[in-house]
Symmetry: C2
Subunit: 245 residues, 2 copies
């Protein structure tokens, strides 16, 4: 049943030169979509725009664009983020490819999802085309394309990552209180955490620098402010996760 296909596939083995081989391949449009998480008012937010396509009128879309000829994939992701938001100095991670043949109404488009976490206050939005804005992760309704699926996949990925690496610091201001840090973890993981245990955990990691400042303008006892010790973190990056032997 599959023999014909197998034969057919075997035929290109005769092409020994790389250039005609590649010319014989089918080609597809390749795009990048960026899932940018931020944190504000104790809510997890995602950076989205209104889709420019009629068919998706009033639906929200991830920040995406095609990959240019001979453009590195990572570079494409950074470019798109810069073009659409003005942001630079963001770390993006490749998460997964989404390539269902019918995921784009205009024909087949394969997209590579990139994800990042960032500090909303450090990256003010200079561009507001198409209602580019931070939307609440939990309340977004209408997505263009398969962007809900992509966003949720990236959120799962993020939950895992944030438990392996203390990436959460990227979402906070330079100086932050332990309460803010805990709110962040609770927002991303979707659970309540014990305050004492949380603080002990981070104290024992020894990644926080006490800067001897206090919160201002809060209507209760102010908390201490900390900075993240990026240097120390970079040194100790190696970690086993999960079932360790």
């Amino acid at each position: 049943m599959t023999k014909n296909r197998d034969k057919e596939a075997a035929s290109h083995q005769l092409i020994q030169d790389a250039v005609p081989l590649v010319l014989s391949y089918p080609k597809v449009p390749l795009t990048v979509d960026c899932v940018i998480f931020g944190f504000e008012e104790n809510k997890l937010k995602v950076l989205l725009i209104k889709s420019d396509l009629k068919i998706f009128e009033n639906k929200l879309s991830l920040l995406g664009d095609f990959v240019r000829d001979n453009e590195e994939l990572d570079a494409a992701a950074y470019r798109i983020l810069r073009e659409r938001t003005g942001m630079t100095n963001v770390f993006l991670d490749q998460v997964r490819v989404f390539g269902k043949p019918n995921r784009h109404p205009g024909g087949r488009v394969v997209t590579i999802a990139y994800c990042s976490l960032l500090n909303i206050q450090h990256h003010s939005l200079n561009i507001h085309d198409h209602e580019l804005d931070w939307y609440n992760y939990t309340t977004i309704k209408d997505f263009a394309f398969d962007h809900r699926e992509i966003m949720e996949y990236c959120h799962d990925w993020l939950q895992k990552r944030i438990q392996e690496h203390p990436l959460g610091f990227n979402l906070l201001p330079d100086k932050f209180s332990l309460r803010e840090l805990q709110n962040l973890y609770e927002a991303i993981l979707g659970v309540k955490l014990d305050r004492r245990n949380f603080r002990k955990k981070f104290a024992s990691m020894d990644l926080l620098i006490d800067i001897n400042e206090m919160e201002q303008d809060v209507s209760h006892r102010p908390g201490k402010l900390y900075k993240f010790n990026f240097e120390k973190y970079e040194k100790n990056k190696r970690k086993w996760v999960g079932i360790d032997f």
Copy 2:
């Protein structure tokens, strides 16, 4: 400096219909490469073929081919594995995209790496084109393309996965001894493990079924044989990994 580009990128926002939009995108050849790990004689093996390209004469290559028009990415990976090896009933996982513009000597080709672990005895190689065979992971030298990088990335991915999920069972015969299981973990993780602790660990997971059989034809005290309890595993799949709160 980047303003012109940003303007240019903004221009396609005027295309409101999806079809011309997609037609305006650049297209690239898209391939899938399969990194298939197996285990035999206490060695971790990878399934490779000799490259058919002159430029990579005598170098080893992953099992790969282009993605067809309107073919699901996962389906392409399964098809390629079947065409090249005759194997079916294998689970493949998408791992990452590799897209450096110059990774292929014939022009730009973006490839999606898929990875699997399997039981060499269950999947005898029916096809031997191009010296398709299992090669020792640790001793392979010459790779075509960037296939060393891809393979190593998949190996890292595998080390993580095998600590989160007991995937290792896929690499073993139906019936296996604890020693075989331990050898497998040691081969993949590249470390020595304590025998008693290893056994306790798996005993406590309660994923092994004692089938009341013993090893045969070994020149020492025979070990008990077990089966993997796939049913129970499927039920308990949810797990937190890493820094748990």
